[in-house]
Symmetry: C2
Subunit: 118 residues, 2 copies
DNA sequence: CTTTCATATGAATGGTTGTTCATGTGTTTA
DNA sequence: TAAACACATGAACAACCATTCATATGAAAG
């Protein structure tokens, strides 16, 4: 029990436990992808954009007006969200309408909302 | 002199829609907190730590050994996770054991895992 | 008390990132 | 055709961040 859990210069005797938990760890690529996903969600502007698009699709300049930011800044962030497959778009003439890629996005955001309100 | 009204046609047509969606937006403080939460989750090292602690509590040097990183780096990241209330700790002599603060953490991580595997 | 061990922390640094500015692309209209 | 419009994009810059290094707590053992 505890006599096999003693430390010796930081890391001598918990080899079993470390190996066991290490075996359950997702592979490096999955870790990378998950961190990248949350990194994309870790920005106020992008969170605001997603909360907007959850309600209804919107064109770029309407998002810019809503968030009181430049069209360029919004466009840059939409690119990041698009690359993370969090939003999709459709073209209608000069206008491009963005929307969340699926209902999964709303779920993740509401999980975040739940965590901060407790 | 609104620099946000540069796009005349687009901004003019959708005033109602913009106002409507703006009214449904979470307040600034909630947006900030949600973005901060995801920012904490947006790092490979912290994701690995959380995936480890989901299985069982662990002391700092075991985490360092598992992830093949220095004790200092792990300690710094545990501080970030602790401030975000994602992990808790208990002291036992010289050793400090960390664990996830609640089962909510596993839910958020599995949501991320779901999104990247499609 | 002194030493050793586990962990915490401050400072420095190299790398990353969000916004701005200027410009480019593609579409519609005059 | 040319002009106007909606959006995209490259470069630059300041702000931020994760790790390293050195050092500081704090607890148990000698």
């Amino acid at each position: 029990m505890s006599e096999f859990n003693e430390h010796k210069q930081c890391g001598g005797k918990n080899i079993e436990k470390v190996a066991q938990i290490g075996a359950m760890m997702p592979v490096e690529e999955e870790i990378y992808d998950i961190a990248e996903l949350f990194k994309v969600l870790g920005d106020q502007t992008r969170v605001k954009i997603l909360f907007s698009l959850i309600r209804d699709e919107m064109c770029v300049c309407d998002i810019a007006e809503l968030l009181e930011m430049t069209q360029s800044a919004i466009s840059h962030q939409l690119r990041v969200l698009k690359q993370a497959r969090l939003v999709k778009y459709r073209r209608e003439g000069k206008t491009v309408y963005y929307s969340v890629s699926d209902e999964h996005v709303a779920t993740i955001l509401s999980m975040g909302m739940e965590h901060i309100t407790e």
